[in-house]
């Protein structure tokens, strides 16, 4: 179960939140099951030992109890919700001594384009990030609605045209973490997945240097070709133009 063995600081907090909330709710759910099957068995028509009071249909105290119990559980869960929603807000930068790496994500028809503005490299359907370094994703789209989701690193967020969504994630340890689009966006949707390669800092720098020197250049024409609907293999680029903001402005209001 990915979600329960997460390898990102955000994903692990979300996983513990899920477990916490489930345990809290079991306080109500388990008694319901117990009562259901016990009453069903004990008060079956055949059991004449059981007390039968057909007109007992009102008890102030009991009703008060099962208005109060769910209310209390929900109050606790509500506090948990208010706190966790603010703590795990995708826009909140992660606590770290190191400045976050900026990665720009563009959802294209059935493929993901990743841009590293400060490093002059880009990649398609593959995402190289340094482990233990916070990464701030700026996510937009040049396609129908998609949702950028790497389950082992953290929650998802929608990728929409003209919108710049921000998501802060960090990989705890190096590893390969699959990523998906979590919102149906057309016939090639099932092929719209990628892999996040979290590597050590020096390996990441080596990758950036190699990519910058050997990869083809991502210019206007190459980008325009990518806009056509298709499912693509992994690929890397070098690039110098500010593509992300140009895409964003294209759909701006």
């Amino acid at each position: 179960m990915y979600l329960l063995q997460s390898s990102g600081i955000i994903a692990s907090q979300e996983a513990s939140l899920i477990i916490q909330a489930t345990l809290l709710m079991l306080i109500v759910v388990v008694p319901v099951f117990v009562l259901l099957f016990f009453f069903a068995y004990y008060y079956r028509a055949g059991n004449h030992k059981a007390r039968y009071s057909p007109n007992w249909e009102h008890a102030k105290m009991d009703e008060l109890i099962w208005w109060a119990i769910p209310l209390e559980i929900i109050l606790v869960l509500g506090a948990l919700t208010w706190g966790s929603t603010h703590a795990l807000d995708p826009r909140k930068p992660l606590p770290s001594t190191v400045p976050a790496l900026q990665v720009e994500v563009v959802a294209l028809p059935w493929k993901w384009l990743f841009l590293y503005p400060s490093l002059g490299v880009a990649s398609l359907n593959t995402l190289e990030i340094p482990a233990n370094i916070p990464v701030e994703f700026h996510i937009t789209a040049d396609a129908p609605m998609n949702s950028f989701w790497v389950p082992q690193l953290g929650g998802q967020i929608y990728a929409m045209t003209g919108m710049d969504n921000r998501l802060n994630l960090m990989a705890d340890k190096p590893g390969d973490y699959p990523g998906y689009s979590a919102n149906y966006s057309g016939a090639g949707f099932a092929g719209m997945h990628f892999v996040v390669h979290a590597v050590a800092q020096k390996d990441f720098e080596a990758w950036v240097a190699a990519t910058a020197s050997t990869s083809p250049v991502l210019d206007q024409a190459t980008y325009s070709a990518l806009r056509a609907p298709s499912t693509e293999q992994e690929r890397t680029y070098a690039y110098r133009i500010d593509l992300y903001h140009a895409i964003l402005k294209q759909f701006g209001h």
Partner: protein, 603 residues
């Protein structure tokens, strides 16, 4: 633009599997028409059923329409489950575009034409008897509403024969549903089938709320049976939620047909507003469906525990609380769209707040069973099945109402398992319980208990097999609406991914068996009627609807069928841009409304 707008002969030609569906639809229609002609039953059908204003007959027609559409929606489900089982690291046998049409049609059919139709069927049959009014407030409007819903179903099935259906998901989010990404007529079929059926639903809502408000005779509000209360709550939601759907679909239609820019990606369009509006209707919609099911369970539990319903007052308060709260929660369907923590947290907490009245209902049902003499007839089994599955669904629902948890669970198979838990466990089991419980009232025949129990056990086992694995798959990061799983997608390497999908597919097969048992149950019960014949009140229920026999009402009017037929031409004309046809049909509808007869109760 040619005389037939976008309609060309190519629209009749489809891929291999779709042609199969096309042939089945055409053959089914032909066989039905020939059979009726052969038996010389057209006159009987026209006079006794199609033009009848008797709410009981309209109710039975609703239920038959619901069974037909439930059948088609279920075939879609079987195809999807088999494709997902076959397509782990392989293409499977259904193309991605066809798979998208399947899950879109499955969602639309099951919600609008299976569940809503069945709900209005049961309300038509039972509500007038529970109120003692014997009839609804506006009988002609009732017939018109049914035929508008039937027209919506007709247009939807027509998309199998000519053209195709939307490939966008059952709520057709733009920009995918805009012309830029969905150029075909599919989304237009979707819009107009739902728009026409939606107007029929709104009119029914007005009809039944007026019936409850003005035709109760001396029955005071707090004496009304629980099913009437939940119907009152559901109709309130229909009246105040469906206009939002009407606007949202109309705006999308204006975008696609006349080049407006509400939700397009350019010129200031804002697709997020569509999502916001469709769910402002969407969440009340699921409560419209589940509240009558709650009402049925309140009747069933009281009758089969041979006890009065426990805590009537708090049940009424809980129902009305759910009605109000259901309009304050809709953002939990798009926590992940990018709203701030304050908005998400507020709507998350409001969503949990709905769990309180629902929890109270569950406890009141449990304590209706307490100190009762429980008879485990089939309706009671459906109730036990409901409580088990609905409680699991409620837990996962409250879990997903926590935004930070929903960031990981949204649009995954976990979500798919949750809402099937609520809709099958709650709504479908509720309607099956109601169907079995009231079947003797209207036919004098008790449905065969043996086949009924077999159907229940097959349903509950099939349901758990089909959807519990989806919870696990959702936690493994499998999203919904995947027509296949690539070898390179990272899911392929997950050890259980393969056979979890196989279990789910097997579960669907077991449900198919259960549906077969239900069909056998009905045939067996009718075939040897004499053995299953029962008296007036076989369950010895205190419900008012059982106390007097339900005599048929003989008023008739062909106006409902006429408006339904003209509405079908209107929809077809708009879908295929045959403007003259749409204009003529619109004039026909206006004429029909202008020439409405002066009702005898008019002052």
């Amino acid at each position: 633009m040619s005389l037939f707008g976008l309609l060309t002969p190519q629209a009749f030609i489809h891929g291999p599997i779709e042609t199969g569906a096309q042939i089945i639809v055409i053959v089914a229609v032909l066989v039905t028409v020939l059979a009726i002609t052969y038996l010389g039953r057209w006159r009987w059908l026209w006079q006794q059923w199609l033009t009848s204003l008797d709410p009981k007959r309209i109710g039975i027609m609703y239920i038959l329409l619901s069974f037909v559409m439930f059948g088609r929606g279920f075939v879609d489900a079987l195809m999807m489950k088999s494709q997902q089982a076959l397509a782990v690291g392989a293409p499977g046998y259904i193309s991605p575009d066809h798979f998208a049409q399947l899950f879109t049609a499955h969602g639309v059919i099951m919600i609008f034409f299976a569940a809503m139709a069945f709900m209005f069927g049961i309300i038509n049959l039972v509500l007038p008897l529970q109120l003692g009014s014997k009839d609804v407030a506006f009988p002609l409007l009732n017939s018109i509403s049914f035929w508008l819903t039937a027209t919506g179903a007709l247009l939807l099935n027509l998309s199998l024969v000519v053209g195709q259906f939307a490939a966008t998901g059952w709520l057709a989010y733009p920009p995918l549903s805009e012309l830029a990404y969905s150029p075909g007529v599919g989304v237009d079929y979707y819009i107009w089938a739902l728009q026409i059926a939606g107007i029929g639903t709104l009119l029914s809502g007005i009809n039944f709320l007026t019936t409850i408000a003005t035709m109760r005779g001396h029955l005071r509000l707090m004496q009304m049976p629980m099913f009437t209360w939940t119907t009152l709550g559901s109709m309130l939601l229909v009246i105040f939620a469906f206009p939002i759907l009407t606007v949202t679909l109309a705006l999308l239609a204006l975008d696609r047909t006349l080049g407006f820019h509400f939700f397009t990606t350019d010129l200031g369009g804002n697709a997020m507003m569509y999502v916001n509006l469709i769910w402002a209707w969407g969440h009340p919609e699921v409560y419209i469906l589940v509240l009558p099911a709650f009402g049925i369970f309140s009747e069933v539990v009281a009758t089969f525990s041979q006890k009065k319903l426990f805590g009537y007052t708090s049940m009424v308060v809980a129902t009305m609380l759910i009605v109000v709260l259901s309009f304050m929660v809709w953002v939990h369907h798009f926590f992940t769209m990018g709203a701030g923590a304050d908005v998400n947290a507020f709507f998350g907490i409001m969503t949990m707040a709905i769990a309180i009245p629902t929890g109270v209902k569950v406890f009141n049902w449990l304590f209706t069973m307490f100190r009762g003499r429980i008879i485990f007839a089939t309706p009671m089994l459906w109730f036990i099945g409901f409580l088990t599955t609905f409680t699991i669904g409620g837990m996962t629902g409250v879990l997903m109402s926590i935004p930070a948890a929903d960031f990981q669970l949204h649009n995954s198979l976990f979500l798919v398992a949750h809402f099937h838990n609520m809709i099958i466990g709650g709504v479908v089991f509720g309607f099956f319980a109601g169907f079995t419980y009231w079947f003797p009232k209207f036919t004098g025949i008790m449905l065969n208990e043996r086949w009924g129990k077999a159907a229940f056990w097959a349903w509950i086992v099939g349901f758990l097999m089909a959807f519990m694995p989806l919870y696990a798959l959702g936690l493994m990061g499998v999203t919904r609406r995947l027509d296949h799983i690539d070898v390179a997608s990272g899911l392929y390497t997950q050890p259980w991914a393969h056979w979890l999908f196989d279990i789910a597919a097997a579960g669907a097969a077991v449900i198919a068996l259960a549906v077969l048992f239900q069909i056998i149950q009905i045939i067996v019960s009718i075939w040897n009627k004499h053995k299953h014949h029962v008296g007036e009140n076989p369950w010895r229920s205190q419900g008012p609807e059982w106390q007097e026999p339900a005599e048929p009402l003989h008023e008739r009017s062909a106006r409902g069928v006429a408006i339904g037929a003209v509405a079908a031409l209107f929809g077809f004309g708009l879908i295929w841009h045959i403007w003259w046809l749409a204009a003529l049909a619109l004039i026909g509808i206006l004429l029909s409304l202008i020439t409405l007869p002066k009702p005898e109760y008019a002052d």
